[in-house]
Amino acid sequence: MIHAWEVGTIVAIVAGLVGFFVVLRSSAFPAHAIPNGAFAGAAGASLIGASPLVGLGLFAALGALSIAWLGRRTRSDIATALVLIGMLALGAAFLSQSTAYEPQVFALLFGEILGVSSTQLIPIALLGTAASITLLALYRPLLLGSVAPELARAKGVAIRRLDLVFLLIVAAVTTMTVPVVGTLLMFALMIAPPAAARSLTNRPAIALTLSSLIALVVMWGAIASAYQMNWPVGFFVGAYGALSYGLARLWRRATRN
């Protein structure tokens, strides 16, 4: 339980940071597809007895690379959809061959707070730090590339490489988030808090901070509620995320008039 709390804290802060750029760059679909498809990696890893975290990381990175690669050959939303279904189909095949109990599959998809072990803490903390540092180092070009791609290109920013690096960051965050909130709900944590933050302020640096803070509140609330009611943590992440967004929209409407 205490591990879940620690891991959840790291996960929420990083997801809030990455999510801010996901919303800014309109990358909701790839940010949904990478964790969703990476689930296949975890299923495959459990099939051959490897660590699910390794499988997740491998498939998340593979998914990010494929989306970037295919995205150069066709419309990016089609590329994302095709990569997603390819990975999910592999996941279905792995699952049909494995003897995993339903609760294990369920935990993989929807998260499980009591399943977080202390051995996962260090890799998750390392991944989170690496992702955050990369993100903050790229803060300016990412912001410019998201808001004004033409201007960024004129200033010599390598847009394609930036896109790829961003997708790989999403892949890294996916890998660290999944043990707690599950592959399906990872996305909710990356989209609702930043969308709420952006409804509250127009200033990027404040929105970025606010996004992480809201994600943190959602995560802590979800873990506490899941512990109290013994329901899956993913449900609360999804529900509180949507709630935070709804409240932020109401606040915006109230302060505007």
Binding site: A81, L82, L90, E102, L184, I191, G238
Partner: protein
């Protein structure tokens, strides 16, 4: 090729019939989904359909009803959230998607803890075409017919509003109502896809064949016919291979239909990138 008992098995007949209906409807809707740049929306509806399917499993209602109801409610929610112009469509879609996924987690959890039925998670998410009850076929056929007829009626205005929304508005078309109607039709189609290859993979039938067809066909009608054909081929061959796969290993552990269907769809898509001849290369 054909494992023993393929032609005499009742569940294979049901699978083939249902697969045919689903491939035709999803090919039709898929082309329009891509024309309107709504792959993410289409995919999101499959995840909202999951919520409906999970809810149906919890309440012991027929899965098709659950899938379709879930997707239709999701379509309404996405469309009404997108009305607010200050917020972009993909964010609205994402919020609905996230909340719905959480809810399906809850339903699946409650089903697994309150009933003795096993494999609910896998069945809802990944489908099992061979275990669909034969009473689903007529319901699916009627639903599919309604979707197709409605599409035939609104095809022309829909096409105009997809390709040139300003022109459509200038001609007095209510584009936002058309958009809502279209998303509702997609929702119903997605519900049908979900019952055949599972809600997680329903996107495959919706997007895959249409993406292939639109690379090769120069007209909308041609693309629709081609998308349907690709979907049909993938579904039929997928069913044969999946049935066959039970005999591949001594343990009798087969591979799911959805895996084969998606693999074939992706193969078709890869083939569509092969240039037919140097002169026709686009």
């Amino acid at each position: 090729m054909f494992a023993p008992g393929f032609f005499s098995s009742g569940s294979v007949h049901t699978a083939l019939l249902l697969g045919t209906i689903v491939a035709i409807v999803s090919g039709l809707m898929g082309v329009f989904v891509l024309l309107r740049n709504q792959s993410f929306g289409g995919h999101a509806l499959t995840d909202v359909a999951t919520t409906g399917g999970a809810g149906a499993a919890y309440l012991s209602v027929a899965p098709l009803v659950g899938f379709v109801t879930g997707a239709v409610i999701g379509a309404g929610a996405i469309e009404s959230l997108s009305r607010d112009r200050s917020q972009r469509r993909d964010v609205a879609t994402g919020i609905v998607l996230g909340a719905a996924t959480g809810l399906s987690g809850l339903f699946l959890y409650l089903t697994a803890t309150t009933s003795s039925a096993t494999g609910v998670t896998q069945q809802v998410l990944f489908g099992s075409l061979f275990s669909v009850s034969s009473s689903t076929v007529p319901v699916a056929a009627v639903t599919a017919l309604i979707v197709t007829v409605t599409m035939a009626l609104v095809a022309r205005p829909l096409l105009l509003s997809s390709l040139s929304p300003d022109l459509a508005r200038a001609r007095g078309l209510r584009t936002s109502w058309l958009g809502l109607l279209f998303l509702l039709l997609v929702a119903v189609a997605v519900g049908l896809c979900a019952i055949s290859i599972g809600s997680l993979l329903a996107t495959a039938l919706l997007i895959g064949p249409a993406a292939t067809a639109m690379r090769r066909s120069r007209t909308i009608t041609g693309a629709i016919v081609m998308a349907m054909s690709v979907g049909l081929a993938a579904t039929w061959v997928g069913i044969v291979l999946a049935y066959d796969s039970f005999t591949w290993r001594a343990t009798g552990q087969g591979l799911p239909v959805s895996f084969f269907v998606v693999a074939i769809i992706l193969a078709f898509y890869a083939l569509s990138h092969v240039p037919l001849s140097r002169s026709r290369r686009v």
